[in-house]
Symmetry: D2
Subunit: 311 residues, 4 copies
């Protein structure tokens, strides 16, 4: 295994994209600071048709988790009441639900403290500020604040003319450029970028293991592109987010380390971009209003989200 | 106890507001059908400042549930991994979370099958289509579809010049009219109406039991007002949604029965409208873009939501 | 599919083994009534060596459940505190655990209301006395009372000279007779009978799916043998307890229906009898004191148990 | 606050009762090593009447936890199936349960790594061998092995002629001596000692907060008595086990530290000793066979137990 800092390529990129201190030593929101009121006004102005496309997978026992990641359990959803006549026979009857699930199990955002490397979290905070009982003392998902901005679909699979990218395809800067060109859009400050690989099609076709891995995903060289454009957040349609197994042998999860720790940028996984891909192609527009507020679990290192794109 | 149908007042209102069959016998979305693309375009056009106001309470063990409602448990949020070096010493370390919670425990939407009366659910479906293992066969929260529309804050507490309404205050048509006038806005088709009572201030001040009950809330006579305006959904800042204990002795949860069963209209509880109240007053505008997509639990009778108002 | 009562063989056996009313119309304990103080005194007298053999599988995420039975989840065990210094730095630090699990997921007892057929539970009670919110109103596992008696190992695999029975082996009366003869013991009133098939060896060797099914197990003709001997309870080392798929096509779970509903007899699954098989063979004794108290979940239709045999 | 090692009284006792290395540097079972086959044979020989007394509280939402201990939640027990006809209409129908609960929430054993002090666990192992994902690497409850021995009830409340001890009563050596005399029994090697304070009567009468604290419990001076007698384990009928608030100001949980860390001795809490108190008084015998096997959660720092005394 390789500690990320011992890998020259990683180290050089990390230095170039690092945002520690950029928004002050107390900051817990990272690149979400780039979403200004002005950005949001412009995002609202992108709405033309009023068409709404939901991007979350259903939350159910038969979800995307295959057991590959220990403890990340699909939702176990049970009823604590079924037509319970709480106030006596014949009165209004209520049904109530309860769930147990991994916060990172379905369509979700990773919060900044979801990973650490070299003992550090975003903004230089020590990794041991995450504990079993206190959870994340800094930058938990509840600190993210409202997450509405312009969304841009970078449909890499469509740009390559395929339904889904091959498992060994690491999505790098040239892919992002090509998808921008396909979409006729330029990614800019505060955008939330949705990168479509088409990998979700495996899960939707019933192949959970095939979806999990091996998987195409972001390349080690993508974060610098996002950094240059001052992107607010990135999400895609895979379980691992970045290519898995990794491009450089034994350099595990480098994109996680760059995004979450070095840049302070939220990343989303297991987003279903299939309907959105069709909608954008039909409307010939790849920018839209995106609302993607995570459930505000206090101190969580990730949370479910039910994103909606409004075209 | 009184079965709702045996109460003359309830029965008369129910007949007037009933929407069964209005969108066909197969419909599972009720009044959400009123949110058209046109409504959404108009909603996007309300955005002026770009200011975003989140409306969800933090999800934590110390949440709003006091034990009054059996089985509706506050989130128990634990870590299944804390800086776990999955790939060996020195590699990127990951932290993961898991939660157990009532789907109706925090800021949430009630789905249409959350209540039944007279053995029936919305659109005349039998109550026994909700089961422990199958959950809700019809109109589960996953059937709601994208929930973005124009939001309108009806700040009843502010219209009355108080910080929060008295516990015995049943919010009726005249209160809704007064709040409309305060806001300089007219509620119309497809709107999501947020009714502020100020009751949330008790919870925010640390008084969980005082928040739970007795509580002001919607009157038995409010649903007809919403029906006349063709509202898409209603949410407020209380635990019980409607006044509790009820206005008519032994007529329990009549508003639930009218909204969810008769009208087929989603209702939201435990929404934190305090910051929004300030924002609307400051900006002098009470209509905005509202994004309030529930987490799509398959067949659930309710689900957490992290709503955001964009002014 | 076949309703059990429509199958002539099932029907005839059911009539012969039925215990409804035998211990009065109010009874909720069934054959556990057969464990008298005298039986327990005799059980204690079987102790010779003092050797103790535990029979429960470890409770962990990697348990026996393979996903075949919907909702029956392996234990998800997390820490809510790890060395938390609750009273200040340097004070005694505590660690605490929490678990989510199916009550029937590991080594467990099925309670009498775990199954119904023809709309009936043990002692003729209606099946709808089990509800989502009330759980089992009658004969829940908490009603079982203390479960200590003489245990007898019927080592069918050893009697056949094999490590584990073939998947198509339905364990019937002749197998039970042979195992009695091997053990030099006669099963009698109030005994808890442990039937070893050796199927557990598949799970212990890492083959969870192979363990689950197809599986040897009790034959439709075994219950009458247990009834004739006035056995108190039966447990074995399989997931399905009875042979699976069943001996008679489309007659599903007939042994469950006979034991739990007709006889009112608890049955145990996923018991690890491997060490006990060795111990009994070494000591040349197949009867012992067995302590197998289920966790007393109120109204549960099953519960984990950590049984111990004392030789 | 006071670190235990800085308190002279604690320090002196700790040195005298310390068992580190007594059963070798690899040992994970501590004083349970004192339960030999011979001890168990003698325990079985104590059985006279065959009367069985269960000592576990029911496991239910309305359990003993009051919220005082963060994250230690009462059982939330739901049904994942209610009379589900898995194989088609009319076939045998099954009901299944699922639970979420704190492992230390009900009647339970604390495992040795449940507390640490000075950064150490039993046998000198470092406290950081307990982690969120790995749980307890050493001495988890699954390492305890079979837990059957002679039980002795020391009925301190009865010896004092009261129904329950006053909250400020710290149970010390003289109380244990008095209860021994009442019982006509001498505690010896390998015994499991049950100390009755009567505090459980508060919970059984519906006063959960009164049960929780203030509470009588073991004194700082009790462990040395247990050490002198070579006791295997101790349990009682309180939430906090030791007197709470503590005898010496700011010296929190000293008995936990002495038993679990210094001596390596399991301790049990929330045991219901009321029926046993009556049974022992009626039979005039205070020693019996005790079976108290914890549920074997892998690496857990505690586990539920459903103990049974056999007189």
């Amino acid at each position: 295994m390789t500690a990320p800092a011992q890998c020259a390529q990683f180290h050089a990129i990390a230095q170039r994209v690092n945002n520690w201190g950029r928004w002050g030593p107390e900051d817990e929101r990272g690149t979400l600071n780039l979403v200004t009121d002005e950005v949001v006004r412009a995002a609202a102005a992108t709405v033309r048709s009023g068409r709404r496309v939901p991007l979350a997978l259903p939350l159910q026992q038969d979800g995307v988790q295959s057991g590959m990641i220990p403890g990340r359990v699909n939702p176990l959803h049970t009823m604590v009441a079924v037509n319970m006549e709480l106030f006596g026979p014949g009165t209004v009857a209520t049904s109530d639900d309860v769930v147990t699930m991994g916060l990172q199990a379905g369509t979700h955002w990773d919060a900044l403290p979801h990973v650490s490397h070299g003992g550090k979290l975003y903004n230089g905070r020590p990794a041991d500020t995450v504990t079993a009982h206190g959870r994340a003392a800094f930058s938990g998902i509840d600190k993210a604040g409202p997450l509405v901005s312009r969304g841009v679909l970078l449909d890499v699979a469509r740009a390559h003319g395929v339904q889904s990218l091959a498992a060994e395809h690491a999505v790098g800067p040239e892919d992002l450029d090509a998808a921008e060109e396909l979409g006729g859009v330029r990614v800019g400050q505060g955008d939330i970028v949705l990168v479509r690989t088409g990998q979700m099609r495996h899960y939707l076709a019933g192949d959970r293991d095939g979806y999990a891995h091996p998987s195409p995903g972001l390349s080690l060289y993508a974060p610098e592109w996002f950094h240059a454009r001052d992107v607010a957040a990135v999400a895609n349609d895979t379980l691992t987010f970045e290519i898995f197994p990794p491009e450089i042998e034994d350099l595990w999860l480098p994109v996680h380390a760059l995004h979450l720790v070095e840049m302070g940028m939220l990343q989303g996984q297991n987003w279903n971009l299939e309907e959105l891909s069709l909608a954008c192609a039909e409307e010939g527009r790849y920018a839209f209003l995106l609302s993607a507020q995570p459930e505000p679990f206090t101190g969580a290192t990730g949370a479910p989200v039910a994103p909606v794109a409004v075209l």
